[in-house]
């Protein structure tokens, strides 16, 4: 058969390579800056644009989407053409992909620094940029699939399966997670609220890790590792098994980011179990990589590229074992909200992702520029400095995590928290933060050495934009011959069918978890006393989102004694139904704020305290690392935007009265005046519509609602008479529940613990002793006074049995 002549497009590859290294160095220097900020708050520079809350999303987005994103495109555009023996389908689409992606990055950098953010981690960009991203991503997928259709080889190689799964997975995740109702060009509200938003966000967040940082890199590994070492892939069968199992299982694992939080138990259990099942499929890639290196380890000694591949595979294997372990509830208790997670993602990010990119670059750059690497010595130096940097970065953070967690949970013999002041637990780990800066610095130095090496290499070489190649035209084989071809082998030559199957395999996990959370009411039990935010509180909330407060402050108290003692009552699912978007956060560099508004709780602070603290946290406590927010006192809330925000919330189902948007600004001003007057009594002058007042209003709302009196408590309810069961069996059953639930406060014999917990055996009754009154006390509770309502935990007949037991057994 006659060979066809064609040209590979190397120009697009070179463009993406250039973007990779340029954004890469910027992204990690921003990382170094925010590491400095955590240890030395002076590096916040006292500017709103450079505070940690704004720069941390810039670092994560820049590393993931700018550095690693461009590296993926570079790696894919080179290998895809060669694996399919054809030029990319369209140069125009390639160019749109390249320039569009760079535009997204620039817009992201500008908007994040300006505080324009949705606050959804790794999806912080506002809706116009989200739409742009979706468009560029579709262009990329279109170009890739069209290239697959015009290929000159029969079968699609394993690397490309991973590229396809990446395209499909990210498209699905990005679109579903970004659903939001725009309020203005720069502001939108997530259509999901509270626990639903959390589930969607971490389905996205976890799978952004999977489908942006894992699957494309496995694809790159399947191409660049065997090429660089010149060995065959160890096992084709393993490729198939771990590909399908990984893309199916990954999508389920998101809820492991929400363990012990305000989420139904079934969703948490799916997060744990699917993470455990991911160990083997994840390791499949590592094993196939390492076994491909068999018999070629002598080459590893001489090649910086191969050394980086080895570190990448090792880091991948470590991180994908560590991840499932962190998904176990009792391990997660330690790793969540501490620096463990930060250490974990940097092992993966610096080792697996950056390591693989470095390896790829050291192999690809000299090849494309038809030369040898300028200095193998410098390349090796980069390898050792970077590897050392990873260790010096991660080990202190693991240490910091365990230290801080042990301090959080430590009790004195008298039963009080040993370190009730959160700041003590942070000050303790600052030395580890300093050590981490050294690790990061080493990594940056290594990167700069690589840049110099590439500069010299490129200068000494020559490259072409179009490289000639030839291959015979593809003659389709036709239908599958069952004797000669397995089913999998057959779909490997059917790109579209392959993609459709992959799409459905990917969709299952998200569908099973998200659809019930959105549509099944019992998953979100509502709480009657939880009310929507007032306009001023809502504006304050938007400032909280914009400043990235969630980066350091969580808003969800887990049901651990040491958390409820420190912060207050643990968080309930129904508390967050008006939270578009949710603000639970994922790391506590500062204390949790879920109960900042509970006046009688340990977290409540007066308006004057908040004012002074925002103005200068270090003046309040020299050890504090929080940035200063003096502009809150001078910047005003944009009142023109408030009615539109209320209308948007109404559209999302928040029950403001009809036409409330017209009333909102007036209410906002009157609530603001109250707070301003309160501050004024402490000698503080501030405008009632300033950002400061809005922030204080919001913080004073947090977590308050569940300790508000129930409506029934103010007006005694007309209670229907109840006849209580008096059988011995009823008493026995009731006694069991009594000992399990009631005895903790009222004592096993009903004697109570005076004065807080009343006796049930005397003749004094706070809320009446008619059967229906006792039943009402048990089922509804008196939350303000400390009595919990049990209607969601006990059935009606169980409550009747309990009431009977209290009246007829204990009280006799």
């Amino acid at each position: 058969m006659e060979n066809q002549k064609f040209y590979y497009d190397y120009k697009i590859v070179k463009q993406f390579l250039m973007a990779t290294v340029v954004w890469g160095i910027i992204a990690i220097i921003v990382g170094l800056l925010i590491a400095l900020q955590l240890a030395f708050p002076v590096f916040n520079l006292d500017l709103e644009f450079t505070s940690f809350g704004r720069l941390r999303p810039l670092h994560t987005n820049a590393v993931i989407f700018a550095f690693i994103g461009n590296a993926i495109f570079a790696g894919v555009y080179y290998s895809l053409q060669r694996l399919l023996k054809t030029r990319m389908y369209s140069d125009k689409l390639s160019a749109i992909n390249f320039w569009g992606w760079q535009l997204v990055i620039i817009l992201a950098a500008i908007t994040l620094v300006l505080g324009i953010t949705t606050s959804k981690e790794y999806a912080e960009l506002e809706w116009p940029i989200d739409i742009l991203i979706a468009g560029i991503w579709i262009v990329y997928g279109w170009n890739m699939i069209a290239t697959i259709l015009i290929r000159r080889v029969q079968h699609i190689y394993a690397a490309i399966w991973w590229y396809l799964a990446t395209f499909l997975g990210i498209a699905m995740l990005h679109v579903v997670n970004s659903f939001a109702l725009p309020v203005s060009l720069f502001k939108s509200y997530s259509v999901y609220a509270g626990a639903q938003d959390a589930v969607v966000q971490w389905w996205y967040g976890h799978n952004a890790v999977a489908f942006f940082l894992t699957t494309p890199f496995l694809g790159l590994m399947y191409y660049y590792l065997p090429k660089a070492v010149n060995r065959p892939i160890y096992s084709y069968k393993l490729s198939i098994i771990h590909f399908w199992s990984l893309i199916f299982l990954y999508m389920w694992a998101g809820p492991h980011h929400l363990l012990y939080q305000a989420l139904p138990e079934w969703a948490q259990a799916l997060g744990t179990t699917f993470s455990i099942m991911l160990i083997a499929p994840s390791w499949g890639g590592m094993i196939n990589g390492f076994l491909t290196l068999r018999g070629a380890w002598d080459k590893v000694r001489d090649s910086a590229a191969l050394k980086f591949f080895v570190v990448a595979l090792t880091a991948y294997g470590m991180a994908t074992f560590e991840g499932p372990m962190m998904s176990l509830k009792n391990v997660n208790e330690i790793t969540h909200f501490t620096d463990w997670t930060i250490g974990h993602v940097h092992i993966a990010g610096m080792g697996w992702n950056a390591g693989l990119v470095f390896g790829m670059l050291y192999w690809l750059v000299p090849l494309i520029f038809n030369t040898k690497i300028y200095s193998t010595k410098l390349a090796n130096a980069h390898f050792w400095i970077a590897t050392l940097g990873i260790l010096v970065y991660a080990i202190p953070l693991y240490w910091a995590a365990v230290t801080q967690w042990l301090m959080w949970r430590d009790y004195t013999p008298e039963g009080y928290l040993t370190y009730p002041n959160f700041l003590e637990t942070l000050s303790q780990i600052i030395p580890m933060y300093v050590a981490r800066i050294f690790g990061g610095t080493l990594f940056v130095i290594g990167f700069i050495i690589m840049l110099f090496n590439f500069y010299k290499t490129i200068k000494s070489g020559q490259s072409e934009d179009n490289v000639a190649a030839e291959a015979p035209m593809l003659v389709p084989i036709g239908p599958r011959n069952p004797d000669r071809e397995t089913v999998h082998r057959w779909i490997e030559r059917k790109g579209v069918i392959f993609s459709i199957i992959a799409f459905f395999v990917l969709a299952v996990g998200g569908a099973v978890e998200i659809i019930p959370m959105v549509f099944v009411k019992s998953n979100i039990p509502t709480i009657d006393t939880v009310t929507p935010y007032t306009p001023l509180e809502l504006e304050g909330r938007d400032i909280y989102v914009s400043e990235g407060c969630y980066v350091c402050h969580s808003q969800v108290v887990r049901p651990f004694r040491y958390e409820t003692d420190r912060y207050g009552e643990y968080s309930k699912i129904g508390e967050f139904v008006y939270d578009h978007p949710y603000q639970w956060g994922s790391r506590r560099i500062g204390p949790d704020l879920a109960r900042a508004g509970v006046v009688t709780g340990p977290m409540f602070k007066s308006a004057a305290w908040h004012y002074s603290h925002f103005m200068d946290p270090q003046k309040m406590n020299v050890q504090s690392t929080m940035p200063k927010y003096p502009w809150f006192a001078t910047k005003e809330v944009n009142l023109e935007g408030t009615p539109a925000k209320i209308r948007a919330m109404q559209k999302l189902g928040v029950p403001y009265p009809e036409g409330y948007d017209q009333q909102a600004v007036e209410d906002l001003k009157s609530q603001g005046s109250e707070i301003a007057a309160n501050l004024n009594s402490s000698g503080i002058e501030v405008s009632p519509t300033s950002q400061m007042v809005a922030m204080i209003a919001y913080l004073h709302k947090l977590g308050r609602d569940i300790s508000q009196p129930l409506a029934e408590e103010a007006v005694p309810m007309e209670l229907a008479p109840v006849t209580l069961p008096v059988g011995q069996a009823d008493f026995d059953a009731a006694k069991e529940n009594y000992l399990k639930i009631c005895a903790a406060c009222h004592g096993p014999e009903g004697n109570g613990i005076p004065p807080a917990f009343p006796s049930l055996v005397d003749e004094e009754w706070l809320h009446g002793n008619k059967p229906e009154e006792i039943v009402r006390s048990i089922s509804e509770g008196y939350p303000l006074k400390g009595m919990v309502g049990y209607k969601n935990q006990l059935s009606g007949s169980q409550i009747n049995q309990l009431a009977s037991y209290i009246l007829n057994v204990l009280n006799q």
């Binding site: 096992s235 084709y236 069968k237 000639a468 602070k605 007066s606």
Partner: protein, 198 residues
Amino acid sequence: MTTENDKHIERGHEFSDHREHAMEEHNYDGIQELDNPPPQWIMFIFYLTIGISILYGAYYFWIGIGADQHQEYDKAIEAARMKQDSSQPAAPLDLLSDEASLSEGKTIYAEMNCAACHGIEGEGNAIGPNLIDEFWIHGCSFTDVFNIIKNGEPLKGMTPFKGQLSDEKIQKVASYVLVTMKGYSPSSTKEAQGEKCP
């Protein structure tokens, strides 16, 4: 213009194990694939983790013997309460004046960051009143000071410390405020607030 040849294709591979075979028609830009089965141990781990997951579901849901997070919490609270009951001290609380207690009181004052609102030397600031003059908002007896630290007055800005500090620690910090602080003379003091102490 250069044509790039794939040197690898023709060269072939030396396999360390003779039973291995490169698969026919599996050649992609020079990359071949072997027909090795996946290592048995990784398949074993795979099946094992699936089994563990099924048992996990059974334990928490189908059989339902595992405690959910709220039951776990209730148990922990109950255990802590049992422990605390047996360790309740009954010593009467009164003003302390020994050096050790006062210096411990000073440490607690610093650790709990009282200075944020009351100043390092008790001089007070925009948030909290001074602690060194004769005027007191909530009373100046030892019991008054003890109680305001313990129970707070959150709406006026005073945090209740009862969940965070034991009675003994509150006793020490109250003593520090009433005994040691009297001797401080900060450069500037917030204006007097409250009633003059009898």
